[in-house]
Amino acid sequence: MESMEKIRPRSPLIAKLMTAIAFLMLYVPLFALVIYSFLGPSAGPGSPQAWTLEWYRRILVNGEVLDAFNMSIYVGIWSTLVSTLLGTAAALAIERFRFPGRQLFDMITHVPLIMPEIVLGLALLIWFVVLRITLGPFSMILAHTTFSVSYVIITVKSRLQGFDDSLEEAAHDLGASPWQTFWKVTLPLIWPGVLSGALMAFTLSFDDFLITFFTAGVGSDTLPLKIYSMIKFGVSPEINALSTLMLGATLILVVFFFRPSKGAPTHA
């Protein structure tokens, strides 16, 4: 974080007011969602509604929702694993080594970030059909990995910036082989970056709708797809409960992500 010594003026009242309104716009719907998920059916017009966990119970025994949840986790874990491996290696290469085509490669890694999602989704759909890959969990993992790799690369790269090369030289100097140097010095130092990259990849995979929509195929809905199709049928207390659960999961992830990093700095 920046030092506190900078001059920081008070912000004008109108800016504070706008901020308050914006946060209301962001959070009132979510609060309403949470409250409604605990409200039982109204006994009659005007009468108070009772608190209940009924909708949660129904979600937790809903086989289709559970299947979708499992599918999301399955796709998420695999795409996270693959993208973290690929992305960490690529980030190391881009940040540490000089090789022909490095800048071009660096540019290409940004393409999934700036391209409209829908185009990437349909491009992969076309490609899977051309390759005769059956749409399903496997195709989703391939698709999710494609956009997750970019995020992992960016996250690990930012960790590698300012990495002191002489640390690796020191390890080498002290008798470590390149392999030992990687495991004993490089990896421990970039580990926080790798971890947040993996977390990012999993969240993106778990949350993705559009690309999944194109590459899921029949009968392999992920959770977002499932919620979407439930919403298409109309508002229901069960969706409230399911959405609240997903919101809760996000909160846990954010807390995990923003906890004060214990990682050592990459340079002494």
Binding site: P9, Y27, I35, F105, I108, L223, I227
Partner: protein, 293 residues
Amino acid sequence: MLEPVEPSLRRPPLLALPAMGWFMWFLLIPLGFVVVYSLSTKGLYGGVVYHFTFENYQRATDWIYLRIFWSSVKLATLTAFSCLVIGYPMAYVMATASLRVRSALLVLVVIPFWTNFVVRAYAIKLLFGEAGPINEFALAFGLIHEPIVFANSDLSVWVGMVTNYLPFMVLPLYVALEKFDFSLLEAAKDLGAPGWKILLKVLIPMTKPGIITGTIFVFTPALGEFVIPDLLGGAKTMLMGNLITDQFVKTRDWPFGSALSMLMILVVTASLGVYLKISATENAPVDATTVED
């Protein structure tokens, strides 16, 4: 002359090869196939015949489709502009807050950013619903007697789009304002510049990179967005996003869908080009000396 430290590790990019291969196989070649498809003909049973033609593009530039494109551009522009107007004061408040407040606000911005957007869209649908809290409150306090139908309205689409994309705008703006040297504002004030002039001549020009990044981050995905308008607007308006999706899911005219998506990339690039051009000429001389008044 300094001893060059740059070319320290000149190595073959073995580590980059897997990712390179992946991007080649699952990004560049697939995108190439979109181009190929857009120039092909629809097969009899939904497949594709590699018969070179510009027909799809001719069809896509039909008046009907251009109007759909136009409504997408309008929606994306409105969203980006709204996010900028709302997000700039937010980022300013965040950047000028104390360290503790700042990190709290940052987390508050990031939580929706990480929440599934289907969930968020649904929450807004719920809020504005006929049996939603707004209507229930208003009914309970006797403000209205009939539930107001917010749902499937432009208002709920607007709220949905803005809340969905606001974090994409706020974060880059915050980064730019965080780095901004606020003593410049005092300098401008000291030189006698009125508040609105300081905003226009100092603050905005100097945080332009953040504004541009934020706008791109919002505009690009918003242009292809159709799920939020679909969920909150009741699929009343056809947008680029659902037009393209329909070609793949319903009509199964993939070549035409590919052509449409190529046009979408074109529209994105062109809009951004125009935008960057405008923002480059405006306030072209970023010069603090113009602030005397």
